[in-house]
C-alpha cells in the first residue's frame, strides 16, 4: 500500500514537548514522488502540474509526464494546488554564531584582530540554535554562516539546516573569505556636541578616505606576500595566514567584500584586476550605480537587506527595493539576503518578494534566493534548482512563497530527508492555545 502523505495532516499530529525532541531526519530510504505540484524550478521555468522523483537524496526526474508506480515501497506527496520551490538559501547569516545578540556570552561571530583569514565560522556553528528551525519553517534550508569583523574576518561555510552537529551540517566548508571594507567616508564625531538633532555631526580628525585606502592596500600587500610564499616549494616556518588564502588566489574560494558605497565597490574591483579573484560584493546598496562595471569584471553581488531605508536622504524612496531589478537589467549575477537582526533571516523570501514588486519577475526573484545564491557560492552543481542530478532540497508551500499573504510552508526536504517543521514558536503557540482553549478538539501534548 502506498504511503500517502497529506499536507493538512502534518503539523501537530504527534505528541511534542520541546524543540529538544525535534530530531534530524534519517537518510531517505524509499523513493519519494511529489505529484500534482506547481513546480518553480529556480532556473526561470515553471511546470504547472508536475512530478518530482527523489531517490537516495537526489532529484532523479522532474516533469509533467513522470509515471508514478503502484508500489508499497514509495512515498507519495500530493501537492495539488501547491507551489514547490528549491530550498531557499540564506546567503549571509550569523545563524548558529549568535543566539541572542544583546547577550555577549552568546556571541561567536566576531574575532579580535584585523587579519584573520584563518578563522573559520564552521567550527563555532551551533546546530542546536533555536533560530534554525524558525528559518526552516519559512523555507530556508541552507545558510551561509558568515564571520563578522573589523577587516579580514575569516571564512564562511554553507550549512544545511537539519544536522546533529557542525560536521553533519557542512554543505560546503570554507567557501570564501570575508573582508569588511573601511567606509572610505568621514565618520561622525563622537559626543553629543556635534550631534544635536538637526545639524550634521562633526567629522573626525584625519582623512578617512586615505586611511581606508591604506588599509585596503595593506591587504593587497598581504596577498602579494602570500602569493610569493605559496610560490616557494618549501617553508622553514609555516605561516597560517598565508596558507589560509591559498584557495582565494587559486579561485577555489570566493573573496566576499562587505561594502555598500560605490567607492568601496570600486576599490574592491582592483582585487579582480590584480589577483584575478572571484569577487562577491556583500551589501551593495549602491551597486546599481556601477552595475556595468560589475558586469564587466564578472563580479557578483549579495544584496544584504532590500528592506532598508535609502542610503541617502535624496535617494529615490524606493531605491533599496529597485536595486535588484537594476542589477538584473545590467546582467549582474546577484542574490538577495535578509540580515535583519530582529527577525533573524526568516523574511528572506519577502525581501525577494519586494524586489519582485519593484521590477523583477517572480521567477527572477526566486532565483535571487535559490539558484543565483548557489552560483555565487559555487554549489550550483548540487543545489539551487529543481533539476535532475541535484540534491533534493525542496520546499512545498500552500501559496506564493514570496508573499507573506500566501506563504505557508507545509513540507520540506533536505537531501531527500523530510524534515520536521516544528519550531520553538509553534510549540509555544500550541502551549498557550491549550491554556486559552483556542483549539478545542485539537489533541496535543
Amino acid at each position: 500500500m502506498k504511503k500517502l502523505l497529506l499536507a493538512a495532516l502534518l503539523g501537530f499530529s504527534v505528541s511534542l514537548t520541546a524543540q529538544e525532541t525535534v530530531l534530524p531526519a534519517k537518510a531517505q530510504t524509499d523513493p519519494i514522488y511529489i505529484i500534482n505540484a506547481i513546480i518553480h524550478t529556480g532556473n526561470g521555468t515553471v511546470i504547472e502540474k508536475g512530478t518530482i522523483r527523489i531517490e537516495a537524496g537526489k532529484i532523479v526526474a522532474v516533469g509533467d509526464n513522470i509515471p508514478v508506480p503502484r508500489s508499497a515501497n514509495i512515498q507519495v506527496v500530493d501537492a495539488a494546488g501547491k507551489h514547490v520551490y528549491p530550498g531557499l538559501i540564506l546567503p549571509t547569516s550569523a545563524l548558529g554564531l549568535v543566539e541572542i545578540s544583546a547577550v555577549r556570552a552568546t556571541q561567536d561571530a566576531r574575532e579580535i584582530g584585523d587579519l584573520n583569514p584563518n578563522v573559520r565560522s564552521l567550527v563555532a556553528y551551533n546546530s542546536d540554535s533555536k533560530v534554525i528551525n524558525t528559518l526552516r519553517s519559512n523555507g530556508i534550508l541552507l545558510a551561509n554562516v558568515v564571520p563578522q569583523g573589523n577587516f579580514v574576518a575569516g571564512s564562511s561555510s554553507l550549512v544545511q539546516l537539519d544536522a546533529w552537529n557542525w560536521e553533519d551540517a557542512a554543505y560546503q566548508a570554507d567557501g570564501g573569505i570575508h573582508v569588511y571594507f573601511p567606509s572610505l567616508m568621514a565618520s561622525p564625531g563622537r559626543g553629543r556636541g556635534g550631534m544635536g538633532g538637526f545639524g550634521g555631526p562633526q567629522a573626525a580628525a584625519g582623512d578617512p578616505v586615505k586611511e581606508g585606502l591604506d588599509k585596503i592596500e595593506s591587504f593587497k600587500q598581504f596577498l602579494r606576500e602570500a602569493k610569493a610564499y605559496q610560490a616557494q616549494p618549501t617553508h622553514e616556518q609555516t605561516n597560517l595566514k598565508f596558507e589560509a588564502v591559498k584557495g582565494l588566489l587559486n579561485k577555489k574560494q570566493k573573496l566576499y567584500v562587505h561594502g555598500n558605497t560605490t567607492k568601496q565597490i570600486l576599490a574592491a574591483l582592483d582585487f579582480v584586476q590584480e589577483f584575478g579573484v572571484d569577487l562577491v560584493i556583500v551589501g551593495g546598496s549602491e551597486s546599481y550605480q556601477v552595475a556595468d562595471l560589475l558586469k564587466k569584471y564578472n563580479v557578483s553581488v549579495i544584496l544584504q537587506q532590500p528592506h532598508s531605508l535609502p542610503t541617502a536622504e535624496d535617494d529615490d524612496v524606493d531605491q533599496p527595493y529597485k536595486t535588484a531589478a537594476a542589477l538584473q537589467k545590467a546582467g549582474v549575477l546577484f542574490s538577495i539576503s535578509d540580515d535583519d537582526s530582529q527577525t533573524r533571516g526568516k523574511n528572506l523570501a519577502f525581501n525577494a518578494g519586494t524586489a519582485a514588486a519593484y521590477g523583477l519577475s517572480k521567477e527572477e526573484a526566486l532565483a535571487a534566493i535559490t539558484l543565483n545564491a548557489a552560483k555565487i557560492m559555487g554549489v550550483a552543481d548540487r543545489t539551487g534548482s529543481i533539476e535532475v542530478g541535484k540534491d533534493a532540497n525542496i520546499v512545498v508551500s500552500e501559496g506564493d512563497i514570496l508573499d507573506m499573504k500566501s506563504s505557508n510552508v507545509t513540507q520540506a526536504f533536505i537531501q531527500g530527508r523530510q524534515i520536521d517543521l516544528t519550531d520553538k514558536h509553534k510549540l509555544l503557540n500550541r502551549r498557550f492555545e491549550e491554556k486559552y482553549e483556542l483549539n478545542k478538539g485539537k489533541k496535543g501534548f
Partner: protein
Amino acid sequence: MPEALPATATRLSGLVNGTSWNGTGTDSLGNPLSWTATLVKLSEIKSDSVKKKDAPAVGNVIYPMQPFGWVSDARPKQETILIKNATVWTNEQEGVLKETDVLIKNGKVAAVGKNLTEATARVIDGTGKHVTAGIIDEHSHIAAASINEGGQSVTSEVRIGDNLNPDDVNIYRQLSGGVTTSHILHGSANVIGGQTQLIKLRWGGNDEDLKFRGWTGQIKFALGENVKRSSSPLGNNRYPDTRMGVEQVLIDAFTRAKDYQKSWNAYNATKGKKGFTGVAPRRDLELDALVEILEKKRFITCHSYVQSEINSAMKVAEQMGYTVNTFTHILEGYKVADKMLKHGSFVSTFSDWWAYKMEVEDAIPYNAAIMQKVGLTVAINSDDAEMARRLNQEAAKIVKYGGVTEEEALKMVTLNPAKMLHVEDKVGSLKPGKDGDVVVWSDHPLSIYAKSLYTIVDGTVYFDRTKDEQLQKDVDAERLRLVRKMNGEKRGGAPTIPAQPSYQIMHTCSDHGHSHGLLVIDAEENH
C-alpha cells in the same frame, strides 16, 4: 585620455589603480554614468584665461528645504476626491465592498457607496485597486529632534510635542507606505518617560501643522532590560537595576502623585472660603502629568516584554487606581492575555521580532493572533522608520501566523491603533464624517506586491506615486544645480573643503538594531 569618457561629462570621481582608473560620475544632464580610463600621457598645464561672471541665481524655496520638499506653489492642497469602482475595505460593519466609490470632501470622508457623483471632484479610477483607511502607527520615533530623556527614572514632565522635527524625510517615505498617522513616543530609557505626541504626516508643514488635533495626550512608560540598561557596555549605576526596583519606582512615583493631588484638592476646596490663609502647593510638572493619569486625562503606553513585568505593572496600576491603557511591544503578551483583558488594556506589538535580547527569547509570531483570539484589541506597530513603510505587510503576517481574518489583520494597523489612541471617532475606518485619511493601493493591501498609489491626509494628496517620479527628477535637477554652482565657485577661485557625507540622526527606542541605510546614525549608539 580616458577611453570611455562621454564628451558631456561634468563631474567624475574614481579610484586609481596604478595607471588605470574606474569611476562614476554624471553627465551635463545629471544622468549617472560609470567610466574607465588608462593613462596615455600626462597633459600640459596651460595658464588660466579670465571668464565673465554670471549673476548669482537664487533657487526655489522648498517646504521643507530638502529633498522631496514641495516647491512653494506646488504644495498639495485639500481637494474633493472621488475614487471610483474600487475594492473598499471599510473597517465597518459593511466589511469589504467591491466596485464601490469613496467620496472625500472638505477633508472628510463624505460617502462610501455605489455610483457616487460629484461634479467638481478629482476622479481617481479605482478599477482593480483597493482602498483602505490610512495606516496608523502606534509606536514611532520619526519626526522628533530628541527621544530619550534618560537622566532620571521619572521624567513625566518632558514632551515630544515640544521638539518635533517636521523636516524628517521619513515623513515622506512613510507616506509612500500608506502611513497617515503616527504616535511619536518618548524612548524607553526610564520607567516613566516623557509625554508622547500624535501626528498626522502633513509633509511640508511645520511642527504645529503636524500635530493631530483633538486627541487626549499619552505618556510613555517602560519596563525591563532597557530601564535596567542591561545591554549598556558601561553597565548601570542608576536605580532601578532589577524588575523589583521597577515596581518600586512606579509605586513611589504614584504615591507622590497622590499626595500631591490631595494637597491640591485640599487647597482648591478651601481657597475661596472665608478666613483662608493657606498658600497653593508648589506646582510640580512631573507630578502634574501623573495626576492627569489618575484623573484619566492622560493615557499610558507601556513598553513591556516579559510576563512577570506585565503582571506587576497591572498590579501597581490597580493598587494606585489607574489603568495601563496600552502595553506596547508586549512580546510575551500571549502568556498573560487573559489578565490584560481583565485589566482593560489595549496591546500593540511586532509581528515577528524575537531573539535580539534576552527578554524576547520567548517572543513568537503567533503572539498577536493569540491575544486577538482571547479578546484583546491588537495593533501591529513599527518602532522602526524602515518597517513603518511596510506595516500593511506586517499585518499580513498575522494571517500567516495564527490565521486571523484578513479584515481583522488590516484593522491591526488602522482601526485598532485608532482605538488605543482614543481617536477612533476621527480615523481608522472609512465612514462618512471621519477624516479623509485614505490610501489607494495597487493590489490587495495585505500583499507584498501592493504599493500605495495615493496617500491622502485630510483630503490632501500627500503622496502620489506618479508625482513621486517627478519629485525624484526634481531632486536630481536640484542636486545638479547645486553641484554646478559649487563647481563654478571652485573654478572662480573660491575656497573649497573636501566633500563630507551628510549624516542623518535617527532616534530609536535604544531597543534593538535597526537597519536604516548608510548615512544614518543611531542617536543612541553615540553615548
